[in-house]
Symmetry: C2
Subunit: 188 residues, 2 copies
């Protein structure tokens, strides 16, 4: 079972209040993402801690009910953070970070995570493939520096488009580039 | 079969001529590495291309017959390079890079690689375990963001100490930290 791979670079989701503080206006679309209704914004921010900062971090739209900063372990070392590996929206006890925009800044007490590996799909595909939400599978990547990614979470949503999301550490470790596929080999 | 994991950050090996050009003196030992006779030096260099540079890159001793720069894919993107995945010393057709020291600089036509994953061992251990040189095995890493690293090369030398070397991309992708072990699960 082949699955397209999407590589998630560090990015930020914002709630309405934080968009207003950081930009003083609405988010504007740069380009659509594969997942329906999701898009990269023209807006970028700086994310900062007492140990370091990273510029030009893309904001993804649309606005959410929560603000969330998704980074890689490589980014975490640079920022002196130890974020938990989490599903989007599961932010309790995650790391604090400061987000700086052109019009203002916000420090969130929690919300900085390393996103878990996951495969988006809709209910119909999940039913066909026999998966339930948050089930974990393994995915084989066939490159000269490949292997098997374990603990890949099945993420079922109404608008889900079949696609695996991994972060830049996974992609760079396994030499995964845009357009590549992986193979779902089993459940854990 | 458990194996200790060593994480190799980007580093440089130098030949005698290049040590003289970059530092104007001999290499000096900072600390011994696990592999017998190998050591981290006090000396650091900058590695540079037309696209970017990385400072404070550690030189490893002792002096070798060839100069070699080992980086991760993450580093490669920053430097605008596409280095091949290679065994140490196998440098034909690998990437060109400039190395800058306090006393001078050197541009090597080839020598910049991404090191392949490998497990050091001596002849006796290899015989006991039934491995031959450059045989490839897979290693399972048991973390919340773990999996299986494939194409791990067995590297047999007289002074080899049983230890797997992976780069920082592999370590960060799989959340591997100093002191962790992996499990050799099979040959490819």
């Amino acid at each position: 079972m082949k699955v397209n791979i999407g590589i998630s670079n560090r990015h930020v989701h914002l709630n309405k209040e934080h968009v207003a503080i950081l930009f003083g206006s609405e988010l504007t679309k740069l380009r659509d993402l594969v997942q329906l209704g999701q898009y990269a914004c023209n807006e970028v921010v700086t994310i900062k801690t007492s140990k370091g900062e990273i510029n030009n971090v893309r904001v993804l739209g649309p606005v959410r009910n929560y603000t969330q900063v998704e980074i890689s372990k490589t980014d975490a070392y640079k920022l002196g953070l130890n974020p938990p590996v989490r599903t989007s929206g599961d932010l309790k006890g995650s790391e604090s970070i400061t987000i700086i925009g052109p019009k203002g800044e916000v420090t969130i007490e929690e919300g900085c995570i390393i996103a878990n590996r996951h495969i988006h799909m809709n209910q119909e595909t999940a039913h066909e493939l026999g998966y339930i939400n948050d089930q974990r599978v393994s995915v084989k990547i066939d490159t000269i520096k490949g292997g098997i990614l374990e603990n890949v979470h099945i993420k079922i949503t109404d608008d889900g488009v079949l696609e695996m999301h991994i972060d830049t550490d996974d992609a760079n470790a396994f030499l995964v580039e845009k357009g590549m596929t992986g193979e779902i080999i089993d459940g854990d």
